[in-house]
Symmetry: C2
Subunit: 354 residues, 2 copies
Amino acid sequence: MVSTLHDVARVAGVSIKTVSNVVNDFPHVRPSTRERVLAAIAEVGYRPNLTARGLRSGRTGVIGLAIPELRQNYFAELADTIIRNARLRNVSVLIDQTGATREGELAVLAGERLRLTDGVLFSPEALGQEDIESLDVGFPLVLLGERMFGGPTDHVTMHNVESARAATEHLIGMGRRRIALIGAHPRNRDDIRSANLRLRGYREALEAAGLPYDPLLVRDAAPWHRENGAAAMRELLHVGIEFDAAFALNDTLGLGVLRALGEARVRVPEDVAVIGFDNIDESRFALPSLSSVDPGRDQIAQVAVDMLLERIEEKGEPIPPRQILADFHIVDRESTGVAHPAEETAAATAVQAV
Amino acid sequence: MVSTLHDVARVAGVSIKTVSNVVNDFPHVRPSTRERVLAAIAEVGYRPNLTARGLRSGRTGVIGLAIPELRQNYFAELADTIIRNARLRNVSVLIDQTGATREGELAVLAGERLRLTDGVLFSPEALGQEDIESLDVGFPLVLLGERMFGGPTDHVTMHNVESARAATEHLIGMGRRRIALIGAHPRNRDDIRSANLRLRGYREALEAAGLPYDPLLVRDAAPWHRENGAAAMRELLHVGIEFDAAFALNDTLGLGVLRALGEARVRVPEDVAVIGFDNIDESRFALPSLSSVDPGRDQIAQVAVDMLLERIEEKGEPIPPRQILADFHIVDRESTGVAHPAEETAAATAVQAV
DNA sequence: TTCGTAATTTACAACGTTGTATTTCCAACG
DNA sequence: CGTTGGAAATACAACGTTGTAAATTACGAA
């Protein structure tokens, strides 16, 4: 059924090592021999056994991707792009869903789940800065996201503060003065997490524009699901406080916000302009279409794969951990007043190592 | 760094086979020996090398999932559920995106992409009935979807005709008489594919209710993306033909339809009731929320994983190919007139082997 | 023709595990 | 006290591949 080097060798009348040499394009194989071997390979339908190769070489050609949940659009799109990039490098991707639980994420780090992989891309959501040491695992690991900084591994992340500031400035630039923020983290506002970094950018923009910071405009919502975005907006409307714009800390929340505004017959963007964060595919098709911050997800995917493969191939003197920040830009759509959306408006910072 | 059976054996003062026996819970190991070995395992931090195990056993514990694209919600949610089910069975999942291209799908069947897997779940979108023979591959394969029938492999699919008929009857039951269908396949209407099967269900429902079939109400849209759903609805509105309901052949189209109706200030469900198909997560959060047919996706995921693992473990007399049809039900939401959505309304058919 | 050198091919071991067959151990029995 | 039989432990080979080192071949120069 399945043929091996031995079968090919027998048919071609050479040793298995010669077949191996042909398969691996080694030099020093006489053209006539190569031809004979190739014919034999075709005849018996030989395909290298990757498991055996993996045992011999210590590499499987598979990388792991540990994310909270595939059914969250951001992660589905991230996984999609990561798989595409890995494919270009001849690597396949095994996906593990941690469920955003501490337990699941620690299991990833303990190497209990993504066996049979050469390395792991890890996007934590439950672990935090206090777990930084647990990142010191025995296999190549690239960290994604904003939950932990300064760890012992490469790290690919986004300009959270700067891009949130840019989003807020975008709203201010259109004349909005009372900007609600949807999706603050209910408890610890000093914790390093996307919510707080983006909140900081929001505050910086207000301050720079000389606008007051009104805590009443800052609404908690967690986790960042549509229903929570809608609920936060309903509550805000219920409170009766005046506002003319909303910055949702991610697009999913933003879609919920649009929904709540729609229910309440508040006009977007006339009465309230809305901008989200993440630029998921879906935002283009909301009614109205949702403006957003594109945090450079595709670039993150590509850089992360590249870095991981570099680490996997690394030998000798280890390179110290690197941190990469992706480009971002504002995507202006109907929810901030553009009738015919022109993509890719604002400029971005360049990719930079820190 | 990484320790092997040999290291454990040395520490415990036994042979590697004894360690292996302990690891694999074989009988005939004296309790005192077992204890000593377990201590040694803990001491050196031994973890079995899955590649070596795989080489020896011929199993990797990994299954492949070949789908068009992860960024399509339906497939992200399917993959999510499949990964969860596989995890329960101690199996991991490698994802391949075919891009819905013929080339990509044939590569899957040629076994060029999902190496290192014990078997593959395959959801084709480009291949059709004429390619049925190419399903006769040399590895365990379970077919998903409606593109090919009667092939040599197990097949998990949905009640396309029946559930589309139920959706249409649902609209008729609320008094709608002029029901548009969005998402027909532009070219071959006899081809076996979801579009045509669902179209058939639509026609059956009309006929059973004594309603005329008006080809003008049947609108092409392909591929099933939001923009195409929106475009089809805009065109229908432009044509000026009267209608009081729309059946979108999937939810993504349906969301586009809602968008186009919203733009045109057509009230949903007052003027036009809308129902979709697939029941993706997003539909719950549209404005208005989109009613849909739940085609039993979670069940499909579970059954598919079970069947594939059964095939992988199969030995001796092969069981003939099986076909499983999943349960379906109508999910009634705002777009068909329910103010406070009650999920899971209509009854379903039972799971049944054909 | 013979030798030296480079090109080509090969044998063998090893990667870490587990199945098979064998050996060793130990207690009970005659 | 020797024998027997099952439990416990082991040796060895094998899964399919590739690195290393050794063997063989080819070819031009002496």
